[in-house]
């Protein structure tokens, strides 16, 4: 398989799922003839027909609500919300039905579906098109939340999310939809949900991130080694709910220092949860420096002329790491 962008890798995973399981179907705005506004579903309607790759009316609540019904009936819908900012329109159906139906019916009705949406900033878009509100779903009982960081794990994680018997929120970091290519194996690949990936081992400090922020994090980790002789361990969460606490604890009990980097807002964000788990769990006694979060501040993603300085960058990470290394 030639090198793929994330968009191509996701298209591949969807194609494989549609091909392997008659119950899988896709639904969303403009995903059919148009192949999705980011072309993630390109050509799939031609291949699988309009009843399995369905253009829906412009109503997100309607999309998720009917997808829940389809899942109850036994289909496996993969619903696309055109931008994650518009999941707010479907919040009620996500929280009240998608996340809770299984529990409500004591497992009689499993909601085996995936809600996909591009999320995050960095594409010079208008307001409401750059949201990173995965924490809403992480705080919502009954859901799993998955966020890939590159083409290869995007395909494998999407496959795993589709295979998971319950409802999964799959957020795609659109800033890196086409930012780089990766080799993707010829045969279908999957990954276990709930497992973080140690992207780089190190002893001095743990850096935890996910999604598009893995790019500045990687850059920072390289510079830290090369320029500052700091060996950082870089962890890519991949599954944001449930969090692979075990892997995080192991790393931080080893390094004693930790920085959490994400695009979402700070207060009650994913970084807060990770910090709390470290500070109350087995890692507390190993901590030699305060924990540090580098996140979007608690303001709406700014208009695109000024968004380029909004999110943490490699220098922020390097600065924070150096500070923590010097902390006594």
């Amino acid at each position: 398989m030639p090198k793929c962008t994330m968009v191509e890798a996701l298209n591949l995973a969807l194609d494989e799922a549609l091909g392997n399981d008659q119950q899988v179907c896709l639904m969303g705005q403009d995903i059919g003839v148009n192949g999705g506004v980011f072309r993630v579903t390109k050509d799939l309607q031609t291949k699988y027909g309009a009843d399995r790759v369905m253009d829906t009316p412009l109503a997100e609540c309607g999309i998720i609500g009917t997808a829940v019904g389809m899942a109850i009936y036994g289909m496996k819908p993969i619903a696309e919300i055109q931008f994650s900012g518009f999941t707010m329109q479907a919040f009620d159906q996500i929280e009240q039905n998608m996340a809770r139906y299984r529990n409500r019916t004591q497992g009689r009705f499993n909601i085996d579906m995936v809600m996909r949406a591009p999320y995050g900033g960095g594409i010079r878009a208008v307001e409401h098109h750059s949201e990173s509100r995965e924490a809403y779903w992480v705080h919502t009982p009954g859901l799993k939340v998955v966020i890939p960081s590159g083409p290869r794990n995007a395909r494998a994680l999407l496959a795993a999310s589709i295979a998971d018997p319950g409802p999964v929120i799959f957020y795609e970091p659109k800033a890196i939809y086409r930012a780089f290519r990766e080799d993707v194996p010829d045969s279908p690949e999957t990954m276990e949900l709930g497992k973080a990936n140690i992207a780089q081992s190190g002893d001095d400090i743990t850096i935890i991130s996910y999604g598009a922020m893995m790019r500045p994090a990687r850059e920072a980790v390289e510079d830290l080694t090369e320029l500052h002789s700091i060996n950082a361990e870089l962890i890519d969460l991949l599954t944001i709910s449930p969090i692979d606490t075990e892997t995080l604890l192991q790393s931080v009990t080893k390094t004693g220092r930790c920085i959490i980097v994400h695009e979402g807002h700070q207060t009650c964000g994913v970084g807060a949860e990770i910090a709390a788990r470290l500070a109350e769990g087995g890692a507390f006694e190993y901590l030699v420096a305060p924990l540090k979060r580098l996140t979007a501040p608690d303001i709406p993603h700014p208009y695109f002329q000024v968004e380029q300085h909004f999110l943490p960058d490699p220098d922020d990470i390097i600065g924070a790491a150096r500070e923590l290394m010097e902390w006594t």
């Binding site: 109503a59 609540c61 309607g62 009917t66 019904g69 009689r108 709930g194």
Partner: protein, 388 residues
């Protein structure tokens, strides 16, 4: 980026003075659009008389089954109220006076059809195969009562008003795709109909031509809110028409009209002819729920006329007049129903068990590590408190 010169604007592809005759036919039709009519169906009037020529072709034993179901619903209703008043039951929503609506809408359904009820639909749930003890378990706050029985194609009833209509529509959309020749019936109230999610559902169903029947039980009230504060147009069926959903109005207190209209709508759906909206006109004669006190907000005089419109009364007038039943039969069935409810209560009292140790068991197919650790903490609390 295209190679355009900086100062040359992109050519407007519609240059006003360039287009040349001959002109095509007008793109705009100036003829007024007739929105059509909402038919209003009543078969059996308040006097127990049947409208000339409208008597439906329904077998007697079906009529008697339905009659019994209405009585059973009412027996359950008053018993549940009593139990609630005695502290043996959680908040409960009575259905007094809406029994024709309730039973009529599920009567045409077979085991392979689906039903998605609102929360005031116990009569229909019993008809569909929910045992009364299960419903008691449910209203008494035990989780075990909530999932539909294994062999019943129902959704659990909806607590968040209106939130079940989209999933019900999704099921119908899936049925069409699966070439499943059955249908879905979903019901909701006049208040619920104010939720935008329901119009989204009607639109999805209409676009998809999904086999679904939307039943709006217009009982005039949503807690304290009367219809005229709820809706700008009190003909709720007109909304369906606006969305391309075949719509009719039915006397919801007339069981024969309900059965007839529902049968027709279900058959339409099964034939692949798309969704129907049935606005059933009825009245909430009793409390909204046991937590409610209607004397605060509505005049008893509004309830008064509905006593004579009682769906059971009307049906029995006709059944007895046409010698399908005697009044003695009616009394006997009423007593039998009462006994059935008491038996269910006995069973419920004996068997309902709180299972505090199971509250983590149904969130995920396989419990996640973080949830497992929270579960352990919780179980330790139960241990400490000595809770089984």
């Amino acid at each position: 980026m295209s190679g355009l010169e900086p100062d040359k604007p992109i050519e407007a592809s519609c240059d006003p003075m360039q287009a040349s005759p001959p002109l095509p036919a007008s793109g705009f039709n100036t003829r007024a659009i007739d929105l059509g009519r909402i038919e209003c169906l009543q078969i059996l009037d308040e006097h127990g008389d049947i409208e000339e020529g409208l008597q439906p072709d329904i077998e007697d034993n079906e009529l008697l089954r339905v009659h019994r179901a209405m009585l059973l619903s009412r027996a359950f209703d008053s018993r549940m109220l009593a139990m609630q008043r005695q502290g043996q039951m959680g908040t409960f929503a009575p259905n007094l006076g809406q029994e024709a609506c309730m039973i009529g809408q599920v009567w045409p359904l077979g085991d392979e059809d689906w039903f998605s009820p609102s929360y005031r639909a116990f009569g229909a749930q019993i008809w569909r195969g929910w045992s009364m003890e299960r419903l008691m378990t449910l209203w008494a706050g035990y989780h075990d009562g909530f999932p539909p029985p294994d062999d019943v194609k129902d959704l659990p009833f909806s607590i968040v008003i209106g939130s079940h209509v989209l999933p019900a529509t999704g099921i119908a959309m899936a049925m069409r795709r699966a070439k499943d020749p059955h249908c879905m019936v979903v019901n909701f109230g006049d208040g619920a109909f104010s939720q935008g999610a329901i119009t989204e559902a009607m639109n999805f169903a209409a676009v998809d031509q999904a086999p679904i029947v939307f039943v709006c039980e217009n009982n005039g009230w949503a807690i304290s809110t009367p219809l005229d504060k709820q809706a700008g147009n009190e003909v709720l069926a007109a909304r369906g028409a606006g969305y391309g959903v075949h719509s009719i109005r039915v006397d919801g207190n007339d069981i024969l009209a309900m059965m007839t209209a529902m049968k027709e709508a279900c058959d339409r759906a099964r034939r692949g002819e798309g969704p129907t909206l049935i606005e059933a006109i009825t009245f909430r004669m009793s409390l909204h729920t046991t937590a409610d006190d209607p004397t605060v907000y509505r005049d008893e005089s509004l309830v008064e006329p509905w006593h004579n419109r009682c769906p059971i009364r009307r049906f029995e007038l006709w059944l007895t007049r046409t010698n399908r039943l005697t009044t003695q039969d009616c009394d006997r069935i009423r007593e039998e129903c009462e006994q059935e409810v008491l038996d269910a209560r006995a069973y419920f009292r004996k068997n309902a068990t709180a299972k505090p140790r199971e509250i983590f068991d149904h969130i995920y197919d396989t419990i996640t590590p973080e949830l497992e650790s929270q579960r352990m903490d919780y179980l330790r609390r139960l241990d400490r408190k000595g809770v089984e």
